[in-house]
Symmetry: C2
Subunit: 147 residues, 2 copies
DNA sequence: GCCATAAACTTGAGTAGTCAAGGAGATGGC
DNA sequence: GCCATCTCCTTGACTACTCAAGTTTATGGC
């Protein structure tokens, strides 16, 4: 097997491991999944802590319907609200609530810890973490580290 | 956001992109998903082209039930068969059929092309692809490049 | 002003996995 | 020999998406 295919398959595998780890920790401490967290995080990076659903989809690499479905439970538990647009009645902004902002800050701390754990130890000098991030940037979508 | 969390989130995002690309190409040409392909590939690397479901799950980073569900459609289309074990009636091997072997070879060619495309161009010198594979090995499960 | 087209969003149906529970068979203590 | 326990596998109920279709609202040509 070529190195390229090997790298691609390893990437898929590594992601599954990573997601499980983040899900376990975020779920245990805050009752949210990694997908929930990334959604909230992206909202928190937007001006006014709010975005149109379409832009959220684009930013997260999801479809519009994926965003609708992901937002629903977050609205139910009061972390996000729906806000209309004065100019365009088609758009429904997703906005962080006050609670959402507070909870997001806690989740972020947990996520940071988890990431630090994942890349802990002598196998992961800082330069390699940065190198990995750099390589992945060439591959992925837009990226999320907006701020 | 720390470099570690950034790397983790980028990894998740990159994987989604990659999976979509492989799914589109493998699906279009051979009617299988990337998950199907990895499953078949792993079987093809095993001695006798067959494995116990439990070991397949371990090797792929899935649960046993995920393997049961993933194998079902591949059995239906005749790429895989179920074989009993003479010594232990609990185990049901998953084995590649003759057709399965032939189709896998074609899929592998497609997957290689796709991987080559993904890492094509001046942004991806060979050393970087190898570097990425190396970094990912430290993260993931067992890896699949068995042969 | 009116209509065609396009954009934002939701919804129904389907796929790919998870976990928890359970059936069937193996195994070891005694 | 028998029972408790463990292993292998499947199944039901759930989650998290996808795509295709539909609704509602905006917009530009004329």
């Amino acid at each position: 097997m070529s190195e390229a295919l090997d790298a691609a398959l390893r990437l898929v595998r590594a992601q599954a491991t990573l997601v499980r780890r983040f899900d376990a920790r975020l779920g245990g401490l805050h009752g949210v999944s990694l997908a929930d967290f990334t959604l909230l995080l992206r909202l928190g990076q937007a001006p006014g802590d709010r975005m149109r659903r379409v832009d959220l989809a684009e930013a997260l690499g999801l479809t519009a319907s994926g965003v609708t479905r992901g937002l629903a439970p977050l609205e139910r538990i009061g972390l996000v609200t729906r806000e209309p647009d004065a100019r365009d009645a088609r758009v429904a902004y997703a906005a962080l609530t006050g609670t959402g902002r507070r909870r997001l800050a806690e989740m972020l701390a947990t996520a940071e810890e988890t990431a630090a754990d994942v890349f802990a130890g002598p196998a992961w000098p800082a330069a390699d973490v940065a190198g990995l991030a750099g390589l992945l940037t060439r591959l992925g979508g837009t990226g999320l580290s907006g701020s």
